[in-house]
């Protein structure tokens, strides 16, 4: 690793001050599962590394007036084990479980996964399917945006160099919303996603409502498959229509063709993934209606 200065601020305000002081030659370190690897390969020093892994303001999972608040510094393991996630957003557990392995889930954070913004991130689709919002702290206070706007490009988010991702919020109205997540990799453990998919909807008067379909690893950033959503929205619930939406979702993606999998195979996975996650959401909705 190239030498760098290491700063461990005690508060988020101190972290913001450190970012402002050293910008643009400054980087944020949280769980390190991605950034420490990057540090081993960079040819130039990043300048200053600001360690946010101990900031209390980035920790914690709790219900607030806005919904379910998850601190950006919460680890994937904490998500998997937290009762509020199990109760209000269980699809997030499935997504967290597919991240790396135990050791990386114990270190890696939800915020880090989003900020790193690689196309194959496992946290994005489920959060997007639940209309998650992010809160960003900067020198002038906080600002909020929808997660879908936060992702800008490969390894590029709306975060400015002097800003810090503070928390992720699942809006109150979406707590407990039926949702499904699936990841396709080359093997069960420690695999990069070939395709990630997540879907959610509610059923009102026998019709699909608030349909969300989100796909990962199929475009530069995690996307919403809005045409496929429109196939279902407001229509009477049927499995045929789910199959139709799954087919349409393929047209909205543009997966890569590489040594891991061909574009054709990835397109097949998109259809299967959309269908299975919609079906999973339907199963949850049905089991609630019947029980």
């Amino acid at each position: 690793m190239k030498p760098f200065d290491f700063v461990q601020p005690a508060t988020t305000d101190a972290a913001i001050a450190a970012l402002a002081e050293h910008s643009p030659n400054v980087r944020i370190l949280a769980g390190g599962t991605d950034y420490v690897v990057e540090l081993k390969f960079v040819t130039e020093s990043p300048g200053v590394v600001v360690d946010v892994s101990r900031l209390e303001d980035l920790k914690g999972i709790e219900l607030t007036d806005a919904g379910l608040r998850i601190g950006a510094g919460v680890t994937h393991t904490e998500i998997m084990e937290h009762p509020l996630i199990a109760e209000h957003a269980p699809a997030m557990i499935d997504a967290a479980h597919t991240v790396g392995a135990v050791q990386t889930r114990n270190l890696g954070t939800l915020g880090g996964n989003l900020v790193t913004c690689v196309p194959s991130m496992d946290s994005g689709p489920t959060l997007m399917a639940l209309d998650a919002q992010v809160t960003i702290l900067g020198p002038n206070g906080t600002r909020s945006m929808d997660l879908v706007e936060f992702f800008v490009g490969v390894r590029k988010t709306a975060l400015q160099p002097d800003e810090l991702l503070l928390e992720i919020i699942i809006p109150k109205e979406n707590l407990g919303k039926p949702a499904g997540f699936i990841k396709f990799g080359l093997r069960k453990g420690q695999a990069l996603a070939l395709v990630n998919a997540a879907s959610s909807f509610t059923i009102e008067d026998g019709k699909f409502k608030d349909v969300r379909i989100s796909l990962g690893a199929v475009a530069p950033v995690v996307i919403r498959a809005t045409k496929a959503e429109a196939v279902l929205e407001g229509q009477a619930v049927s499995e045929e229509l789910i199959n139709e939406a799954a087919k349409v979702s393929v047209t909205e993606a543009n997966p890569i063709d590489d040594f891991r999998a061909s574009k054709e195979y990835r397109n097949d996975l998109i259809e299967v993934g959309t269908r299975r996650t919609l079906q999973a959401a339907l199963d949850i909705a049905n089991s609630r209606a019947n029980g």
Partner: protein
């Protein structure tokens, strides 16, 4: 250089290291705990697995500064000259290891898993060890060793698996 203090296997240890030092490098090169191995150095192989505040982590992915003041458990803390830890004993009894390079990581991941106190299935054991790679193709014996250690330590039984499942 910064003074970093760790509680390694119950003992307070301090070394002066530059910021770009990983926990693994500090343990191995500054404190002479060479049980944790440098394998892939990118968090894939798990040979560097140690427990930090009871959690299994890749010591190659954590900066020493991030571990300041934390409780670190390494393979050196498990056995005495007189007696193996039950996990090590179980691994020896089933001949779980061939070359042994993955062993310290496998055993520390196993310790973190058993220490959680949950009832375990074979699938959960496999899942918990998915971040530890063995290149001698020895997973079958390693899983057997983990099951034996779990049953010995907790007095519980791992349920028989339907061979057609999984």
């Amino acid at each position: 250089m910064t003074d970093i203090t760790l509680i390694v296997n119950g003992e307070e240890k301090t070394a002066s290291v530059p910021p770009e030092t990983t926990l693994l490098k500090m343990l191995r090169e500054d404190l002479n705990y060479t049980g944790a191995k440098l394998g892939c150095d990118v968090g894939d192989c798990g040979a560097c697995t140690v427990l930090v505040d009871g959690m299994a982590v890749n010591a190659c992915l954590m900066l020493a500064g991030q571990a300041e003041g934390k409780k670190i458990e390494t393979i050196e803390g498990l056995s005495t000259l007189e007696e193996y830890h039950p996990i090590q004993k179980a691994f020896e009894d089933v001949a779980a290891l061939q070359c042994g390079f993955c062993g310290p990581g496998m055993i520390m991941s196993t310790k973190a898993l058993i220490d959680q106190g949950e009832d375990l299935t074979k699938q959960e054991i496999k899942d918990a060890l998915s971040g530890n790679l063995c290149r001698c193709t020895g997973y079958t014996k390693i899983i057997e060793g983990v099951i034996d250690a779990y049953e010995e330590i907790t007095g519980k039984k791992v349920p028989e698996e339907n061979p057609r499942a999984a």
